[in-house]
Amino acid sequence: MAPTLNRTEQVRRELARGTVELAVLAALDEERRYGYELMAILRGAGEGASEFREGTLYPLLHRLEDAGYIAAQWETQGRAKPRKYYALTAVGREHLALLLAEWRALVVRMDALLGGSREVRT
């Protein structure tokens, strides 16, 4: 029996929980971005990402800023109102490298684990 939509959403949310920080830092690795831009990138990042909300993004951004991983800067750049841009700091880049390495190792380990057990089941 297929799981209900609700349960699928719930599972997605749980699986995504640990990855949001990595996703945000990775999105900032290419270039500095402003809040709504990050929102659009993360919401467009595939299944389950449409669950992503401002209520997740901004507290995370502020926490990363407090931790010194990202820095914010207001810029006008030919606009009437200034925009708040977030950029990765040197410490943030180190942290991202660590997260990425851990993530890749985790994926490999999980693949090996799940690959083995799936053959038994199906």
Partner: protein
Amino acid sequence: MTGGPHSEERVRRFVRDVSAHLVDSPERIQGVCDELTGHLTAAAEVGELEDALERLGSAARAASTFSRDVDRPPAPLRRRFSAAVVDLVPLIAVTIVGILEVMARQGSPVIVFPPVVAVQVGEYCVSPLPLPPLCEVYPQASLHPIGLGAALVWAIPVLALIEHRSGTTPGKRMFALKTVTVGGTRVSFGMAVLRRVSLLAGPVAWIDWVPCLWGDRGRLLDRLSDTMVVDASG
């Protein structure tokens, strides 16, 4: 901006409602307003203002999203207690005078804090505490009706109003503490009153602090009013 003046007005109104829920320094609040305005303006530019507003939810919820107080550490118990002593100076003073008077009359002190609120009406003793006969057990209860009344007005509605408006009280300010909702937003006047009503319960009020004995983050009434006292230093 493609949303036009209508959405510009909506953004302005929503941001104003959100800022009303925040208790922080004017600079911090301005920072939140600017960031939120930028966010919603960017959403409106691509025709997604409705979606963004829906995701943000009510003004109170949006305020919680941008509040820096949610993650603040809970107030250390010692500082909280010291702040309470400062805030309750009038009540403590009235109690001491009461104790001295009873001592002068009976020769032995009767020490009860917070004082029992009771009024002698003819031969009856009226009190919110269902423990008769209060006026004999706690003779200080019937003393200083005006002094005690004034001290309680200060301790409950006046401090609640200050706490609602500024997010702190004189005592809490002295010890760098701040009272916010569990979402890190402004405490309503009603909830600010609720978290202080234990003072009407006489010595029974100490039950309110019992959860702190096993290291809980707050009093019973903090929990009941969905509020928390946080360390605002740093």
